[in-house]
């Protein structure tokens, strides 16, 4: 069960990361919307989308950090935005998390509308 959760977390995080790398930041709400729509409620789509979007971007940040002075970017860019470097990194993680939360929430609602009450029966739970 635990392994399944970890695998699910890793796969979804990397899905967000790969989509961002390939398409751009706006891939986050798209992937999250799909998550909300595809995963059933018991799969906790909103929770996973929110956490995994942030984790996906964190993995990209770590890749950046492995290949260059990320701290220096945080310091210089933070100065531009008027943020301390750490706050800028936190903002960078909150941004996809909020995008994913809001988009996956809508995905869940659309799914509910699409499948109707069928999904709400105990048999489908």
């Amino acid at each position: 069960m635990m392994l399944r959760v970890v695998v699910k977390f890793l796969l979804l995080s990397e899905a967000f990361a790969v989509a961002t790398y390939a398409v751009g930041w706006w891939a986050i709400p798209l992937v999250a919307l799909v998550c909300g729509f595809v995963m059933n409620r018991e799969g906790r789509p909103i929770y996973y989308a929110t956490i995994c979007a942030a984790a996906g971007w964190l993995s990209l940040l770590l890749l950046d950090a492995a290949r260059g002075p990320l701290g220096e970017v945080a310091s210089r860019f933070g100065g531009v935005m008027g943020f301390p470097p750490a706050a800028l990194i936190v903002t960078t993680l909150i941004f996809p998390a909020l995008l994913a939360w809001s988009a996956s929430s809508l995905g869940v609602v659309i799914r509910a509308k699409f499948f109707g009450a069928r999904e709400m029966t105990p048999a489908n739970a």
């Binding site: 930041w25 860019f77 100065g79 941004f95 939360w101 809001s102």
Partner: protein
């Protein structure tokens, strides 16, 4: 409820992700760690090994970057070398190159929108882009310069088209713009902007303003054609400065004609967007000097270059080394956006420049057929057609923000002043080939060949100093000097309706200020008047900077008959001040005389005591220079109060331009001159000692108020006047501010209170059998603020130290442990 909140949050995030809000750029693109700002971290360091390709490249080019970030370009032919240079320059400095181009071409609105409109209009009204187009059209298509600009352009565009997502400079991301395609003409735009910075001498403004207040005789003495202290660039055979101090005529009656003329000039300057001309001459300026083998410890010629310009991050300079076996082997610095070395050295010759500051622009009052919509102008009774241009200013999305109609006579662009039209002629508009001059200089095998290469240089006039391996040293103030009709002066508005008002030609090269291998064994320039008027009285300009720096470097060079390269380095940050040597004793003597006459109060006695503690050295740790500098400011405003606008005037008193401090020294010879009287104090007639004392006392009060106790750190020079090196877009977190430095007004490393100008490149070269060079500049080779190469030279620069410059003949001569990146460029 939850759906509603989610929808709102998503909408807000998508909006701020895609669109800029206020000054914030679109957040999505920016925060994206794969493609946004964070990705620039991946481009901060150079990869150890990499390859690229450039269309048109004939053969493979190897570029080795040393641990100072300097590219050593090994190519087989010139075109390939400049393609490679364009490629690596763009990789390191693309934003700077494109921003400089847009600024010089009056196209900033294309990035910045309407807020840049007035700056762009001023640039185009001044005729800078018009002049560049004329120059480019006239450029010899077969010349080395044209080929190099084209090849360089190929290299820049190859880089732009091959950029990976992390390579786009952060500034483009913040502005939300994309790089544009590079054109060869952009290199000329850069020189045009330099001509504005260095070659737009409006000395007539200060003199006319003074004439309007105190009459012509006094104004001519306050803003003279010749410096009263002569230590010229072209040695005059004396072994000390000559002081031609004369009595300054008393303030006369205001000159109403000058009042009209100055109003016109003020409007003109405002219309052209040039701002107040002529900054404090004591606080800025470049130096260069060379020493012949007979006065060096090594027996080889030595040369020092120290051009002072606006300090920016990244630096105005980009360091490079270009090798074409058997043909070219040149190192030094050039401008990002321009192919080739501007200041540097090869195996035989080293060279550098200071600005001459000659008067090379004139105004003409034109007679037009229609004051509101002119189509013709009259010269000698004949109507001539005006050149008309419609200038369009585009916004970031391409929409036309504004259009202007500009008119040009054969002299240059016209500007409307009320119902009159004034045209301007300026050497910066003349056809020229600066790129060729600098490129050819790199091939010189001796000083004479270098002088030949620079003989056709046009603008801005430069004091070009050269030394060679055979021990020759030479200096020539090269550039076009207009020859005017009549008295030859260039500081008046001339009648444009007469062809006899036009320039009659340019000085021949043989008449340029020049010296080669003088008996004194050294040559030096520091923006002082180039030729002693007793040697050559021709008009070359007026209102020259005070020669304090020139005197100091001559003192140092005269006092050392075995100069070493390290001594040359130390001279560059010498804290000694001839200006302080001249004025401090006078302040102290005046205070002593006031004291013995019973007129000194406790403040004056304390100020004199504190000033007497100063060793007159602008070191970082001294606590008294700040008092002296404030006293000098007070002295100027109290002495020249007659030049300030009268009470009730709408003129800005802070815009009053005072004479150079050498004129103050001249005035010291007349203790009871009416100039000393401060006409703002009624019923009192001050003399020299009273004004010196009052200035010193007032300085103490002001400095204590601002900086606290004289023993405190507030008085430290390092805190009072640090260097402030701003990012090109003035982004504070990309800037380096408050850097303690040695030097102040009048020293060899001058600075002003803004800290925004200073030594932009320091270089010492020894021309022995193996050329040795040491150099640095403030900043680093990379334009990426996250790169360790962005500010890696700052500490060295601030400490007045220089780094040895690597100068390998082949790739194998570069020590492997000094190579940080190996780039191979292939034909595409």
């Amino acid at each position: 409820m939850r759906v509603g909140i989610a929808s709102i949050v998503l909408a807000v995030l998508l909006f701020t992700g895609f669109r800029s809000v206020g000054t914030l750029p679109p957040l999505g693109k920016l925060l994206d760690p794969a493609n946004g700002v964070w990705a620039t971290a991946r481009a901060a360091d150079l990869p150890p090994i990499e390859s690229g390709s450039i269309p048109g490249l004939h053969q493979t080019v190897q570029v080795l970057f040393d641990d100072r970030g300097v590219p050593h370009i090994f190519a087989q032919n010139e075109d390939d070398a400049y393609r490679a240079l364009g490629y690596v320059s763009a990789r390191d400095r693309l934003f700077q190159m494109e921003l400089s181009t847009l600024a010089a071409a009056g196209r900033l609105t294309e990035w910045l929108g309407p807020k840049a409109l007035e700056a762009d209009r001023a640039t185009r009204t001044l005729g800078l882009p018009w002049g560049v187009e004329r120059k480019f059209a006239a450029y010899d298509r077969k010349s080395l310069g044209y080929r190099a600009m084209t090849a360089y352009s190929d290299g820049v565009n190859a880089w732009i088209s091959s950029m990976k997502r992390q390579d786009l400079p952060i500034e483009f991301r913040l502005l939300g713009v994309a790089p544009f395609k590079w054109e060869p003409v952009n290199s000329i735009h850069f020189f045009s902007k330099m001509a504005l910075t260095l070659g737009f001498n409006d000395a007539s403004y200060a003199r006319l303003a003074a004439q309007a207040r105190v009459g012509r005789a006094a104004a001519d003495a306050l803003f003279p054609i010749n410096s009263p202290i002569q230590e010229p660039i072209q040695p005059n055979g004396l072994f000390a400065p000559r002081y031609d101090l004369a009595a300054i005529p008393a303030p006369g009656a205001p000159d109403s004609r000058a009042t009209v003329a100055i109003a016109a000039q003020k409007s003109l300057i405002a219309a052209l967007g040039i701002g107040k001309p002529n900054a404090d001459g004591d606080a800025i300026g470049s130096n260069n000097w060379a020493v012949a083998p007979k006065r060096t410890a090594s027996g080889h010629a030595l040369l020092a270059g120290d051009p002072h310009l606006d300090l920016t991050l990244p630096s105005i300079w980009y360091e490079m080394h270009i090798v074409i076996p058997g043909k070219l082997d040149v190192a030094g610095v050039g401008f990002p956006g321009v192919p080739g070395v501007v200041i540097g050295f090869n195996r035989n010759v080293a060279w550098t420049f200071t600005n001459t500051g000659s008067d090379v622009n004139d105004y003409y009052m034109e007679d037009v057929d229609d004051a509101s919509r002119p189509s013709r102008y009259r010269v000698d009774g004949k109507w001539l057609a005006l050149e008309k241009r419609i200038e369009s200013y585009h916004g970031p999305a391409g929409a036309v923000l504004h259009t202007d109609t500009l008119y040009y006579t054969h002299r240059g662009p016209m500007t409307k002043l009320n119902d009159k039209w004034v045209s301007m002629r300026w050497t910066a508009y003349e056809p020229s080939s600066e790129t060729d001059n600098f490129l050819k200089a790199g091939y010189a095998r001796n000083a004479n060949e270098w002088l030949d290469a620079m003989s056709t240089f046009v603008a801005p006039t430069q004091n070009g100093l050269v030394a060679d391996g055979a021990g020759n040293i030479a200096i020539r103030s090269a550039g076009h000097y207009p020859v005017r009709p009549g008295d030859g002066r260039g500081d008046v508005i001339r009648d444009g309706s007469l062809s006899s008002s036009d320039w009659v030609g340019f000085l021949p090269v043989s008449k340029y200020p020049f010296a080669m291998n003088p008996p004194q064994g050294f040559l030096a320039s520091a923006n002082q008047q180039p030729v002693d008027p007793k040697v050559n009285p021709s008009f070359m300009g007026s209102h020259w900077y005070s020669p304090w720096r020139a005197i100091r470097i001559n003192q140092l060079l005269r006092g050392d008959s075995a100069v070493t390269a390290d001594a040359m380095r130390k001279f560059q940050t010498d804290p000694g001040s001839v200006r302080a040597d001249a004025f401090v004793p006078r302040f102290l003597a005046a205070a002593a005389r006031e004291d013995s006459a019973g007129r000194a109060d406790a403040t004056l006695r304390e100020a004199a005591k504190l000033l007497s503690e100063w060793d007159r050295q602008y070191t970082k740790t001294n606590r008294r220079a700040v008092l002296f500098d404030k006293a000098m400011t007070e002295l100027a405003s109290r002495t020249w109060d007659e030049l300030a606008p009268p009470a009730g005037s709408h003129d800005d008193p802070t815009a009053t331009e005072y004479p150079e401090s050498q004129i103050l020294l001249e005035l010291m010879e007349t203790p009871n001159s009416p100039w000393w009287d401060d006409h703002r104090t009624r019923n009192v007639t001050e003399d020299r000692d009273a004004i010196l004392s009052e200035s010193l006392s007032a300085a103490l009060v002001a400095v204590k108020k601002r900086r606290g106790d004289p023993a405190g750190d507030g008085w430290l020079w390092s805190n009072a006047q640090p260097a402030n090196i701003y990012h090109l877009a003035r982004i504070k977190s990309f800037s380096a501010l408050g850097i303690p430095i040695v030097g102040g007004p009048g020293t060899l490393s001058p600075s002003d209170t803004s800290g925004k100008q200073g030594p932009s490149w320091r270089m010492v070269v020894e021309l022995g059998p193996q050329v040795k060079a040491w150099a640095t500049y403030p900043g680093g080779q990379s334009g990426n603020p996250a790169s360790p190469r962005y500010t890696d030279r700052l500490k060295l620069w601030a400490n007045g130290e220089l780094a040895p410059v690597l100068f390998p003949r082949t790739p194998n001569e570069l020590p492997p442990n000094r190579v940080i990146s190996n780039l191979t460029l292939h034909p595409q």
